[in-house]
């Protein structure tokens, strides 16, 4: 079995993000970047399936500018076998990304595609769903476990009311939720080894996809700020304020 893991380069989750001065996006200069945390979980799960003997090869793919190669290297350092870089400086929407990922998956003949459920910059939560729809393959969204079996995969999904277990056929598209696993750190020797692993570069046009955006960002602004209120020193003071001042209980 071949597993494809799409990964995205995003602003590190610990960075305090600020809107830029011309209100077109957020400040990106000198900001620490990292692999999207949900993509790390996706890579980890693919590696575990390989280590359990269910897969022969794990391929990481990222679409974006040259720097996306750093993120691919992170995946290779974790243990993925090779990388695919879809090189473009254009702004990419999930639909376009899904079209490109479909082309890569079909070219590679992958049996399983593991994505993150959400990128923490745009908070889209869309690409995996779109990819499954375009490919006409089953979707396992928000999974917290996956097991390979004869019929395909048994997955458990995190849903608003609890958990849901489904059996889906292979090839399949799944998206990783937080509780799927705890991703490993790349060791120094593996980081060195990753430098020698191959990354295949291509353009969207090579994949037969035209980048055409449907959404125009009109402006980006700071959210309304919340002011810190007062400190209380005991239960009776708190209850009094909630009852008589805020009137919420």
């Amino acid at each position: 079995m071949k597993i494809l893991v799409p990964v995205k380069r995003v602003i590190d989750a610990n960075v305090r993000v600020r809107v830029n001065s011309d209100q077109t996006g957020v400040e990106l200069a000198n900001v620490k970047m990292a692999m999207n945390p949900f993509c790390e979980i996706a890579v980890e799960e693919a590696l575990r399936l390989k280590e359990a003997g269910h897969a022969d090869e794990v391929i990481v793919v990222s679409a974006g500018p040259d720097k996306a190669q750093e993120t691919i290297r992170t995946g290779l350092a974790m243990g993925a076998d090779r990388g695919v870089h879809i090189q473009t400086d254009d702004t990419l929407e999930p639909l376009t990304i899904a079209k490109m990922l479909k082309a890569v998956a079909e070219k590679e003949g992958t049996d399983l595609i593991v994505l993150g459920k959400q990128s923490i910059d745009d908070d889209n939560n869309q690409t995996g769903q779109m990819l499954a729809a375009l490919m006409g393959r089953p979707l396992g969204s928000y999974i917290s476990s996956i097991e390979k079996n004869d019929g395909g995969f048994e997955i458990v999904r995190e849903i608003d009311a609890g958990l849901e277990k489904l059996q889906i056929t292979s090839p399949a598209v799944v998206t990783a939720d937080l509780r799927l696993n705890e991703p490993r750190y790349a060791s120094l020797p593996n980081i060195m080894k990753a430098k020698k692993k191959p990354i295949d570069a291509m353009s969207p046009a090579d994949l037969g996809v035209e980048v055409s955006n449907r959404l125009q960002t009109v402006k980006v602004v700071e959210p309304p700020a919340r002011e810190a209120g007062v400190m209380v020193s005991g239960a009776s003071e708190l209850v009094d304020k909630l009852r008589n001042e805020a009137k919420v209980i």
Binding site: I11, A13, R16, R18, V26, F38, L95, K117, I120, D123, N124, N125, Q126, T127, Q129, M130, L131, A132, A133, P138, L139, S141, Y142, S144, E158, D160, A161, G162, L163, L166, Q167, I168, A172, D177, L178, R179, R214, L215, Q216, T217, V218, K219, V220, V221, E222, P223, R226, A228, G229, V230, M231, V232, G234, A235, S236, L238, V239, A246, V248, I249
Partner: protein, 311 residues
């Protein structure tokens, strides 16, 4: 212009999020129709027909829709999408899985988690865990949208008298087989629509200690939530998680107990009307967004608060 709202329900009850979504749909202008898919949905279809502002209910009744299988509901939506300028669903796990899937089938780019309708093409949505608000304009023929339910009022669920029309089952995929659901059982109000939420974090130390918060929530008539750290540690189930990648809540009162206030947690609760924080670290970031902060050990504060309320 006409908007198709996809109803969310559990087989017996319509989710309140559907009512918030109808309000968002009404702001677009034009007719609002509601699509209900399920196995035995006549009662829910009747409930949808009573929602104020809804002029038509499309009811698809069939075994294909017994368990919100994304593929099946998406094909159904797709069979009707030609009649609509907008398709909207609540940004719940149901809607978040469904809407992008259906959008891709129609070659459209969906818009996630909108918090404001500016006009029929333009919407505001939070990005970067709510650290920025983006206004986006869509050029798609049909706008596929998930709605941040806490940003819109509940539509009234009694004044409507829409016609209900039955639509054909669009069939079921054989790729996906439902096995079971493991649902959290609770008598408490549902987290995303509760008026009061009492949430615990890593500071709770273990699952047993959450009994204190359950008692407090029951006294206040509220729901219990948690931070990711508390869920990851196994104190409480996954469906308690509030935050950027969990549930978004905006109750009248949110009580954060033993929660530091990481940006990812704030993303899910900072629109609450009144925030109370109980934390023994006076530097905890949660105090910067709370209306009432109490710098105290929670194992002292929570029993004291309970005793005060019990009086």
């Amino acid at each position: 212009m006409s908007v198709l709202v996809i109803a969310e329900h559990d087989g017996s009850q319509l989710s309140p999020g559907t009512l918030n979504t109808v309000t968002a749909a009404s702001k677009v202008g034009g007719d609002v129709h509601v699509l209900v898919a399920g196995n035995g949905v006549s009662d829910i279809a009747a409930a949808c027909a009573k929602i104020g502002g809804v002029s038509k209910v499309l009811a698809a009744d069939g075994a294909s829709y017994a368990n919100d299988i994304t593929e099946n509901v998406a094909s159904l939506v797709n069979a009707h999408v030609g009649d609509y300028s907008h398709v909207m669903a609540p940004a719940s796990t149901f809607g978040k899985a469904l809407v992008p899937y259906a959008a891709a089938l129609a070659d459209c780019q969906s818009i996630s988690d909108i918090s404001e309708v500016v006009d029929a093409e333009t919407f505001v949505r939070p990005i970067y865990a709510g650290n920025a608000m983006a206004t986006v304009k869509s050029s798609d023929a049909t706008k596929f949208i998930t709605v941040r339910t806490t940003s819109f009022e509940l539509a009234d669920d009694a004044s409507g008298s829409a016609e209900v029309s039955n639509i054909d089952d669009a069939g079921a995929t054989d790729w996906v087989q439902f096995i079971e659901q493991m649902l959290s059982q609770s008598e408490r109000p549902e987290l995303t629509s509760a008026k009061i939420v009492v949430s615990g974090g890593r500071g709770m130390q273990n699952g047993e200690n959450f009994a204190m918060l359950e008692k407090l929530a029951d006294t206040l008539g509220g729901a219990v939530g948690a931070s990711r750290a508390a869920v990851d540690a196994g104190f409480v189930p996954n469906d308690y998680q509030v935050g950027q990648t969990g549930k978004v809540v905006a109750p009248d009162l949110y009580v954060a107990i033993g929660i530091s206030g990481a940006i990812q947690h704030l993303a899910g609760m900072k629109d609450s009307k009144v925030i109370v924080a109980i934390n023994n670290d006076e530097e905890a970031p949660i105090f910067q967004v709370s209306d009432f902060g109490w710098n105290e050990d929670l194992f002292t504060a929570v029993p004291a608060l309970q005793a005060e309320l019990d009086q």
